[in-house]
């Protein structure tokens, strides 16, 4: 089998990320609308989507500022919501860690749920990929997602209050996350991790400022890894 060209790999990344646009588009629109209602002008709403590229964190920060929380609390909570990208960053090290620092910095800027989910799934499906193929796929997956996120945010900010709440665009967010998640549950260990995550999140729902998410993420990660370790140890 001959290795695919970097160009072909880039476009495969691009294509694999296209389904996410069904989510990123509406999500960006909703963010723009919420930002406009919160009093952000077009420049601020656009700048936030360009510089932060983190829907959940952006919503969290806006919501807290609208609720009159101090800026420091809004920032720290939004960063806590985005801490999962540190785990993504670590998970990409075995795949992209050998790239030059500047390339890794650019990859880090583009590290969002969609680029991570599309790329890690591909890297696990094709263990023989070279570094340049992995980079081509990764940047390919970011190419449709990030501009559409920014464009949709701006469109939403322009539309402002024009979108009626009956469209229930708010629920684009959980549907997106669940659609990314469900196909990933491939083993008992994955199922245990997901179940523990839900259980701990509910048990610690009273912890303020995104704390439940952090506790649940850590406990569920350990639970999944431990189930995997025990199942491997039992195998002859």
């Amino acid at each position: 089998m001959t290795a695919p060209s970097p160009r072909a790999t880039f476009w495969r990344g691009f294509l694999n990320a296209l389904p996410f646009l069904l989510v990123v588009g509406p999500f960006g629109l909703v963010f723009g609308v919420v930002a406009a209602e919160a009093g952000l002008d077009l420049l601020a709403a656009g700048a936030m989507s360009v510089l932060v590229i983190a829907g959940a964190a952006q919503f969290t920060a806006l919501q807290l500022l609208v609720d009159q929380a101090p800026v420091a609390i809004a920032v720290l909570t939004a960063l806590a919501v985005n801490l999962r990208t540190a785990m993504y960053s670590a998970a990409l090290v075995p795949h992209l860690g050998a790239a030059p620092l500047r390339v890794r910095a650019f990859a880090a800027y583009l590290l969002v749920d969609q680029t991570f989910a599309a790329s890690l799934a591909e890297f696990e499906r094709r263990p023989g990929m070279t570094l340049s193929e992995k980079l081509a796929f990764y940047f390919g997956s970011a190419t449709p997602v990030v501009p559409v996120w920014i464009g949709a945010s701006l469109a939403g900010a322009v539309l402002g209050r024009g979108l009626p709440p009956e469209y229930a665009l708010d629920f684009a967010v959980p549907i997106a996350f669940l659609a990314i998640l469900s196909p990933m549950v491939r083993s008992i260990a994955h199922l245990v991790a997901a179940a523990v995550s839900v259980g701990v999140a509910l048990a610690f729902a009273w912890v303020p400022y995104g704390g439940a998410l952090l506790i649940a993420g850590l406990v569920a990660m350990v639970a999944g890894a431990e189930v995997e370790r025990r199942m491997e140890a039992r195998r002859p």
């Binding site: 389904p19 069904l22 999962r84 960053s89 890794r104 989910a117 629920f171 959980p174 260990a189």
Partner: protein
């Protein structure tokens, strides 16, 4: 309430720097040094460990209904998971979830 521009811009700047540093953390520091197997084993479970905890409150207590559980949104979440597990396709899961949501909103 609306946000005053100074607070908005300070928040945007702080989040720009903070989110980048979080994303760059391991990619920037670790470089091409290999991670130990037990770390890799844990990292395999990061998405399935974090996403359910993130989604659970959004599904059970949606802000759009003021935090009251909503049958249409519960139905949509269930349909998304079912389609995702059965088809292994993100797109199929999204379409199933969207269809169930609007069906539910129309029916309930």
């Amino acid at each position: 309430m609306t946000i005053d521009p100074a607070s908005a811009w300070i928040t945007i700047a702080a989040l720009a720097v903070g989110t980048f540093l979080i994303r760059f953390s391991f990619l920037g520091l670790v470089g091409n040094r290999p991670l130990p197997p037990w770390v890799l084993r844990h990292l395999r479970y990061t998405p399935v460990a974090v996403i359910p905890a993130l989604v659970t409150p959004l599904v059970l207590w949606p802000a759009a209904t003021g935090g009251a559980p909503d049958p249409a949104r519960l139905l949509a979440a269930g349909a998304t998971v079912l389609a995702g597990v059965l088809t292994r396709s993100v797109l199929a899961a999204i379409l199933a979830g969207g269809a169930a949501l609007y069906l539910g909103l129309w029916a309930f």
